[in-house]
Amino acid sequence: MWSDIVKKELQGIMGEQWVKDDPQSLVTHSYDGTPMLQSLPDAVIYPENTAQVSETLKVLSKYMIPVVSRGSGTNLCGGTVPVQGGVVMVMHRMNRILEIDLQNLTATVQPGLNTKQFITHVEGMGLFYPPDPSSMAISTIGGNIAEGSGGLRGLKYGTTKDYVLGLEAVLANGEVIRTGGKLMKDVAGYDLTKLLVGSEGTLAVITEATLKLVPPPKYKKTMLAMFKDIYGAARTVSSIIENRIIPATLEFLDRPTIRVVDDFAKLGLPLDMEAILLIEQDGDMESVERDIARIEEICRSEKAERIQVAESEAEALKLLTARRSAFTALARLRPTTILEDATVPRSKIADMVLEINKIALKHNVQICTFGHAGDGNLHPTATTDARDQEEIHRVEAAFEDIFEAAIRLGGTITGEHGVGLVKAPFLEWKVGAAGIEVMKGIKQAFDPHQLLNPGKVFAKSSRKRVVIEHG
């Protein structure tokens, strides 16, 4: 339990001003980017280095106080809401780039580093860090690693998990472990690096990361393809992949999403279209031109109404930035915006879009859909009002159906947001009872007293539902 004794001990480690338990600090660390969730912690702390994290965890485990480590709290699965109280550990002060190794093409950074600042920094050195979550202007590298963040470039370049080579992390008992390193090959034992990526702060507190950098693409081209027929757009996605073209970015926005994004970013997007695809290809000039030409052909064969290629880099950037705002921009429609993260194999995108619209109709809820269609990762988003209990129940029922449909189509309940609190009851649908038991065993090995981000990933009970086997 939090007490003055614990407070004194922690202040001894971090200094008085970095241990806060005033109402203001508690309220402002009681939420993250997930709607309708709020829970007050007992204290908020700001460590400055690994030693402090280690010492702190020793104290907290001695008193059995839970701890939620967090970056900017932009996640959408309730992953950083302190549902069991305890201490919120904010990593913002650990925000340095420790090394850029130009011989090995790696970067070693602290977890609190802002993702966009990092990307801008390495790009300034003529290098490229591809993971680009939509929240990158705000999010931290540590948060990206903990949640296994994806982004707009996931399709061609992979996501955060593909760029983490090594980690330093502190276990619940305060012991420091190091995994991986500046290595492209490493099969020494279980892959703890990959295990920690996406572990949502439930296994250890990440204090340092070694990341892979790659040479930047030489040339890129961005285009918009606009469709009167939403399924034509969705089929185009599958068709592009089938034609063995992997664009850097292949984003899907339906009509309501186009409208709100345009209302925010004032891009002059076509408001009479049912869907648009935002497509970017990068690489050598010749191959980019060839791919874009071929993609145009495919779009036309799926009856694209209009195709428009961005005239300048600034215009392309504006389009991509606007797309990143889609989730929040949807809040313009109704007070509460609940965004989900259903993902299917890329060939099933059109089927999934059909399913989502059917489900929305069935439950009489408004669901807008956008997302990283190229990697099968859709964000069906319900616009609703948290104050209308009855409607919220319908929304929940609709999302249950959506998750079920995703799994039926061979997909998953979350592609990049993580399980956190929100998806915990559905995890068993995806991994099965045995899968859950294995995961719980791993959790037990890392954190025997359940102190690290308790209440996340594993639900007290799973939603009961007969799930059709993967087709």
């Binding site: 109402p23 203001q24 402002t28 929040t328 509460t336």
Partner: protein
């Protein structure tokens, strides 16, 4: 949850009630806590603390209304700590009207607080009630100030160190005060000014109160610039203070009263546009519709007014004939620009001033790093929150220095004074001069008569 701190009874309870009453709960709910506002917020950038961000402040407001926390002294301080620069608003994809929320909160606090430093409170009362709404008194004050500056009294006070009795932040400002006039724009050049060449539209000049006595010349130059650009200009003498300082400090009632007088003054003239050359004023003028939205008698006229209010640079670029500007000097002048937060974030005029500055022949425009970031002036923030304001200004002057510009151009009297203060504090008087955009343009207008 931690036990909320108890405070003097009665006061807390009624502040909660006032917050519940005043705060727009829909706007509080519309904030979905995505965090897009965080990188845009100067106080968050300086401190890295969630509570110092718009997302954090909205969470605090909502927690107070929802009964999760008591709005204690720290809560009030946090609300004061916001610059109200509103950089978070263009950054918010959800379109949350943060400016309105912070004003509603401050308005509520102002009704209950006993906390302000004595000189802030009494100076406010004097200025807000006794001075700004009374143009004649403002001109008298201007005359007194002019006397003070011209008679040698200023030299004397500076020499005797009598200013040491005042807080540092006032001392700094006293040194860089521009020369006041006791006249105002109407006394200088009269009420009505025909357009040069074919008339495009009739515009009413909003002269401002401090603006008019401290920067009479800028108002005069605004008229000349506008007539040259094809506008007939009228300056209704019945207009009064815009009410921005009242509204931003939580005195909504005073602001509404002033707004009504102004609406009447300009409506009677039937102007096509109401032009402002001070961001702080302009931002409120353009939101008179919001200010009076629940007043059925004034709602429509307020909307009429708000839809016509426009920043001078934006009006010239978008509707006028842009005059030909050419620098006198052959040497090649370097200029840079500090956005007025309110011109940029509320009046949405950031391209237009740059377009005008770039159009001046023989002048090189250099963009300053973080030119869109608040300079710390923020109404009277630099007097009430000197620490944060000073921190922001120091950072700003580092960026200013890097531009190696001879002119620091601004679009708002508060920013202009703050830039003058910054230049003086960092010892750059010989390299850089702060000038209002309108004055700079008029100076470089090729055929001024």
């Amino acid at each position: 949850m931690a036990e909320p701190k108890t405070m003097e009874h009665g006061m807390t309870v009624s502040l909660v009630d006032t917050l519940k009453n005043k705060l727009d709960y829909d706007q509080l709910t519309n904030c979905m806590r995505c965090g897009f506002c965080l990188p845009a917020c100067p106080t968050f950038r300086e401190t890295g603390l969630e509570a110092e961000s718009p997302r954090g402040r909205i969470a605090l407001m909502k927690a107070a209304v929802d009964g999760i926390m008591q709005p204690d002294a720290a809560f009030e301080e946090q609300m004061d700590h916001c610059l109200a620069c509103r950089a978070c608003e263009p950054a918010c994809p959800a379109g949350v009207k943060y400016g309105q929320l912070i004003e509603q909160t401050r308005d509520s606090i102002e009704q209950h607080t006993v906390r302000h430093r004595w000189w802030v409170k009494s100076a406010r009362k004097m200025a807000f009630e006794g001075l700004f709404p009374h143009p004649r008194r403002m001109r008298l004050l201007g005359g007194a100030l002019k006397f003070y500056q011209k008679s040698g009294l200023q030299k004397l006070t500076q020499g005797t160190g009598i200013m040491n009795l005042f807080p540092d932040e006032l001392k700094g400002m006293e040194k860089i005060m521009p020369e006041a006039t006791g006249t105002g724009v109407i006394k200088e050049i009269g009420v009505r000014h025909p357009a040069k060449g074919e008339k495009i539209a009739t515009v009413g000049l909003f002269r401002g109160c401090i603006m008019d006595i401290m920067f009479t010349g800028t108002n005069v130059n605004t008229v000349r610039l506008l007539t040259e650009a094809g506008f007939e200009v009228v300056i209704p003498d019945e207009q009064t203070c815009c009410g921005a300082l009242h509204a931003h400090s939580g005195e909504g009632g005073g602001a509404k009263k002033l707004a009504k007088s102004n609406i009447r003054a300009f409506k009677d003239l039937g102007v096509d546009w109401i032009v402002s050359n001070a961001g702080g004023c302009g931002a409120l003028l353009i939101e008179y519709d919001h200010l009076l939205h629940d007043d059925p008698q004034w709602k429509d006229d307020a909307a009429w007014f708000a839809s016509r209010a426009v920043d001078v640079a934006k009006l010239v670029v978008e509707h006028g004939r842009v005059p030909y500007f050419e620098a006198d000097s052959q040497a090649g002048v370097r200029i840079t620009y500090q956005d007025s937060c309110h011109v940029r974030n509320v009046m949405k005029s950031s391209e237009a001033p740059r377009k005008l500055m770039r159009s001046v022949e023989g002048v090189q425009f250099v963009e300053m790093e973080d030119s869109d970031r608040c300079c710390g002036s923020a109404g009277i923030y630099n007097l009430t929150q000197p620490d944060m304001a000073g921190q922001l200004l120091d950072r700003k002057m580092d960026c200013a220095k890097n531009t190696a510009a001879q002119y620091m151009i601004t679009s708002n009297p508060g920013c202009l004074l703050q830039m003058k203060l910054g230049i003086s504090k960092s010892g750059m008087e010989n390299e850089m001069k702060a000038v209002h955009l309108v004055d700079f343009l008029y100076e470089n207008m090729a055929d001024k008569k």
